[in-house]
Amino acid sequence: MKPVNQKAWLLVLPVFLCVAFSAILPLMTVVNYSVQDIISPERRVFVGTEWFVSVMRDSDLHAALARQLTFSLAVLVVEIPLGIALALSMPATGWKASAVLVLVALSLLIPWNVVGTIWQIYGRGDIGLLGAALQKLGFDYSYTGNATHAWVTVLVMDVWHWTPLVALLCYAGLRAIPDAYYQAARIDGASKLAVFRYIQLPKLRGVLMIAVLLRFMDSFMIYTEPFVLTGGGPGNATTFLSQYLTQKAVGQFDLGPAAAFSLIYFLIILLLCFILYNWMQRVGTAAKEVVQ
């Protein structure tokens, strides 16, 4: 289809160099750390795979990984349907569409630590609207004292922050569906649900794939927002993988194990994204066959 032209590599070269400089060099450095015991910058001992083995056996890490998986799963379960519903209810034209679009997209443009700050203020029982309102209702709410409340608050914050991404993706996908599809459905007397199930949802497959992948990998690496909001507490309730990793790397300055950890971390994300990608593609193909 596209003509083969190896010279096209020359056009890709600048991108390759930029990303190589900012990604491959640091990655190789991390690989280098991960096989050494770094006592001081001058004194390093090669330890082979020792750190990888010890990291794999770290029970705190298993707990953080379990918390992380639960959180990412919850994020997907809430944000994807909510995002689709929001996209379906957003007006398509006129000043209302513009206004809604701007309001919905606003949370995406807020620096991540400010997102944490906003919710830190909003959720406080003494000066925050949400916290004060919940306490007025007789609900003993405290995101700094109660582990469940902290966890739910982080989840709600993430839903608030990132559902717009899913919604905007789906909104764009919906706008791209040709009118003829809807006319055909009207002639067939299809119900709203049928229109959604057999026209809109299949057409959204592409954008939903990006949405699921982006939301999965970003929620899996969430750091700044819970760090500002709860600092990982109370206890370890909101210490997700990134937070745990930072505690190890910066707090205890265990560079070798931390490097081994982050490589494993990276591979987990890569693997899960790959599985998700393939699974969604299979589901999509199967659905297409059913329709035809």
Binding site: V4, N5, A23, L103, A105, I110, N113, I118, L174
Partner: protein, 290 residues
Amino acid sequence: MNTVSSVASVPPLAARAPSRSKAFAIDKRAIFLVAYLVFAVLPIYWMVSMSFKTNNEILSTFSFWPQSFTWDNYRTILTDESWYSGYINSMIYVALNTVISVTVALPAAYAFSRYSFLGDKHVFFWLLTNRMTPPAVFLLPFFQLYTTLGLMDTHLAVALAHLVFNVPLAVWILEGFMSGVPREIDETAYIDGYSFPRFFLTIFLPLIKAGVGVAAFFCFMFSWVELLLARTLTSVNAKPIVATMTRTVSASGMDWAVLAAAGVLTIVPGAVVIWFVRHYIAKGFAMGRV
């Protein structure tokens, strides 16, 4: 361009859906939408309202809007250099990053959209994997790399570091827009004797203006909201506003009002930019090779 105008010209969904129980359905949708918008806006409103209060009022009385309205918090920030220089620094590296990202992504996206070459699909997916590296440990190699190069605490350092996630994104978005331009246009231009650079700059680029705008918007956005890399690679001269905020929080024992005002000021640039590209953002989100 047809891809752009179609965003605005499609009739509303309600008009196309079956008309049975139409009024009722619209109401349900509207209620849901309004409920979500309230959920979305209230936390921001609360911070905005707080930024116009005094610390005394914040801590002593609980009011939905400011009782003793004051501009003092904004005055504090806009007259103190350690505060407002943060905004200037952020804008400089964000602008630098956006320009570099889009400039290098343009030819690459053209290559991906027009030719097949050795490993093209692999490179395209590899670009995506650069978004998957957990930042915490990668901070140290970045720190060492830029110290060695003598770039620490410069705007260029942050701009270069942010290329990791912005260049792949820009390539994705631009490739989507470029694939929407028929290949016959390229072929006709070459037959007419245009050289590649001349064709690209005078014919092709104007055709994908909207795509360039969208890509620039996303680079702006992701560079603007990032904290960890920006904070690690700067100390004084290029310290971004997001870092200034975190340090002031811990140092001055919670000056809530000023903190809220600083937060509001970090939202303003994004809100302004989003207003200008509002017709295209949704389109930009959907671009990519899927």
